[in-house]
């Protein structure tokens, strides 16, 4: 914004918004002071430091373990269950949690534990596809804009800005009303709406790295643009990209389940965690467990993903720490 001469436009402040540092990842004031005074206080390798930083983040480690357990349960659970995912137990319809049906049954007697695990599997699968696809699209576009600059970058930047002002929820709703969504189409749609967040980060990193000496050296050695971009610069942007991709899993889970809750997400009978809540919200008064259990899984997954992302940020992207 040329109107703000100091280069500190309010937009910048907003854009740089929550750096998301949990208490443990801010370096202790003593270390900051010591480093500021020019003291050389570490002597370990980068890999070792990364691992140490991550390990110190006990919550992130626990989160990773819980996530792995949840994913295993979602994948293995339905096989071990005596009930099929659409099998109806007509003697026990609308039941709350019982010994036979630990999560209860739905209005037509389907076992909710199997459906919850399957729902978790679909939700997680969608979220992973969204994270991968978003990261892929965002990284490629952001890299192209940041590396080539000029007109290319202007187009990339304006596209990013345009996507950022489009109300994503409205688009999802409008499209969702018209087209019955499958897990893959929802994932694809979310990725199309979310890629600018990654692209902006990657573009910024490429803008910064392309002026650095190792890139200039590679250029002088005659390396072509794709090689410089993907062999020389990309590895340096690995940390922030992985962190953002991880956090995207949480964003995708929340968005997907919200859409399902509003009735425009993945169409039944395919269960997702959001679908399960949508199907049961009418029985909130009589059987809250049918809403609270899938809700609890959503929160557990997102919480773990956010802790994990934060730990990874601390470990892989220490420069992002505010100190």
């Amino acid at each position: 914004m040329s109107e703000t001469p100091s280069g500190m436009s309010p937009e910048d402040v907003v854009d740089d918004a929550p750096p998301g540092s949990i208490a443990a990842d801010v370096p202790s004031d003593a270390a900051v002071l010591a480093e500021r005074e020019g003291m050389n206080i570490t002597s370990r390798s980068f890999g070792r430091q990364t691992w140490d930083r991550f390990r110190r983040h006990r919550l992130a480690l626990i989160a990773a373990i819980v996530l792995a357990l949840l994913a295993t349960a979602f994948i293995v659970g339905p096989w071990l269950s005596p009930y099929g995912f659409s099998e109806r137990d007509v003697l026990n319809m609308r039941s709350g949690p019982t010994a036979e049906h630990p999560f209860g049954t739905d209005t037509i007697g389907r076992d909710l534990m199997v459906r919850t695990f399957l729902g978790g599997r679909f939700s997680l699968r969608i979220a992973l596809i969204v994270a991968l696809l978003t990261t892929l699209i965002g990284t490629v576009i952001g890299a192209i804009g940041g590396y080539f600059g000029g007109t290319v970058d202007t187009i990339v930047n304006q596209t990013i800005n345009l996507f950022l002002i489009i109300p994503a929820l409205v688009v999802l709703l409008v499209v969702g009303v018209r087209f019955a969504a499958s897990p893959n189409s929802i994932a694809f749609l979310l990725a199309i709406l979310l890629w600018p967040t990654i692209a902006r980060v990657v573009r910024g990193l490429f803008l910064q790295y392309k002026e650095q000496e190792f890139v200039l050296a590679a250029k002088a050695a005659g390396a072509r643009a794709p090689r410089i971009m993907f062999r020389h610069i990309l590895p340096n942007t690995f940390g922030p990209i992985v962190v953002n991709a991880t956090l995207l899993i949480g964003v995708a889970i929340i968005l997907e389940s919200t859409l399902s809750f509003l009735g425009v997400g993945v169409q039944p009978p395919t269960p997702t965690l959001g679908n399960l809540i949508e199907e049961s919200k009418g029985q909130l008064d009589s059987k809250p467990s049918a809403v609270l259990i899938p809700g609890g899984f959503i929160v557990a997954i997102t919480l773990c993903v956010n802790f994990l992302g934060d730990g990874l940020r601390d470990a892989l992207d220490p420069t992002s720490r505010k100190g």
Binding site: S28, D29, A31, E37, M39, N40
Partner: protein, 337 residues
């Protein structure tokens, strides 16, 4: 000699970090007498700034401070926070390194000067404080001082901001002024001016001063005594003349030979000391300067103590070979092979 204004005994500062204990300052002792100027010289990381912050009690609570600091008959480390605040900015004032960030950007310069005056003199009216602030700005050489009070820091140049910081520092006529690298962040062309202003301000108030710098060249003509620090330790201390011409420490000599000289028209080369400052967590065994020292021998694997080099112990050096080091050849003191 008069009784010292400031007497520091066996001061040590350590920080506990995730990587281990950082021993920033190790057992340093020194005195400052009323009205005199002591220069503390060393590279970044030598512990000079940390020890100054310890004097001001500005270190974070995680810092472990040992030793005694006696100022004007009071034990600074034992004072309650409230009593300490009465001294801060009043009897002991500090000027910081980076004037670009040391002033609060959202308040006018006048506001910040008046605040400094009135916090210690609540009875002074706003108008009187403002007049005093204007006269302080005038003293440090800012023209149209009265109008300039209404400017924000960003409307001042770097040199002017540092002048404003100096004005703030002396506005309560402190007994001790601590200037922490006051010219490092400034353009070379105005460094000399700012040093001049600091001297003038010091003379106007009669304050003693601790001038912290990494630039030994800055010290000449300003400080009566010089204290060289390295790796959190006191390496050499003595009258400025002595340090300049009869240094008995290889590290100090290295510093001297890296001073760019305007007077020496010879082809004297600038000779920075090779190597990097020691790790504060795992310092080298023995003398901390040993890995960079051209005179190092096996004996240097045991840590040397401070050696007195004259009767009054004015000149002391931390080197096993303090007495044996040859006379300095000023013109070729940088000659190393």
């Amino acid at each position: 000699m008069s009784s010292p204004l400031l007497s520091v005994r066996d001061l040590s500062v350590a920080f506990h970090t995730d990587d281990g204990v950082v021993n920033a300052v190790n057992d340093i002792s020194f005195e400052v007498h009323p009205g005199e100027t002591l220069a503390v010289v060393g590279e970044s990381g030598s512990g000079k700034s940390v020890s100054a912050m310890a004097l001001m009690r500005l270190l974070p609570s995680s810092a472990r401070i040992q030793g005694t600091i006696e100022f004007d008959g009071r034990d600074l480390l034992g004072l309650s926070p409230r009593d300490m605040r009465r001294l801060q900015g009043n009897e002991i004032a500090m000027i910081f390194q980076d004037p670009m960030t040391a002033l609060n950007p959202v308040f006018t310069v006048g506001n910040q000067l008046v605040e400094a005056i009135r916090i210690h003199n609540p009875k002074v009216s706003k108008r009187a404080a403002r007049e005093r602030a204007a006269s302080m700005l005038a003293l440090v050489g800012i023209p149209d001082a009265d109008e300039r009070l209404d400017n924000y820091p960003h409307e001042f140049s770097g040199g002017m901001r540092q002048r404003a910081m100096i004005a703030m520092g002396i506005s309560n006529e402190p007994k001790l002024l601590i200037a922490d690298e006051p010219t490092t962040a400034l353009d070379v062309t105005i460094q000399a001016q700012v040093i001049e202003v600091i001297k003038r301000a010091q003379e106007a108030t009669g304050a003693a001063m601790i001038l912290i710098t990494h630039d030994l060249g800055l010290v000449a003509g300003v400080a009566e005594r010089v204290q060289v620090m390295y790796g959190g330790r006191l390496f050499e201390t003595g009258p400025t003349e002595t340090i300049y011409y009869r240094s008995r420490n290889p590290y100090t000599r290295g510093l001297i030979s890296s001073i760019p000289s305007a007077t020496a028209r010879t082809e004297r080369r600038l000779a920075p000391i090779p190597g990097a400052p020691p790790s504060a967590i795992n310092p080298p065994k023995g003398c901390v300067f040993r890995p960079r020292c051209q005179h190092a021998t096996d004996e240097c694997f045991t840590e040397p103590g401070l050696r007195r080099l004259d009767e009054a112990a004015l000149h002391q050096s931390r080197c096993h070979y303090a007495e044996q080091l040859g006379e300095m050849d000023t013109a070729a003191s940088g000659s190393r092979t």
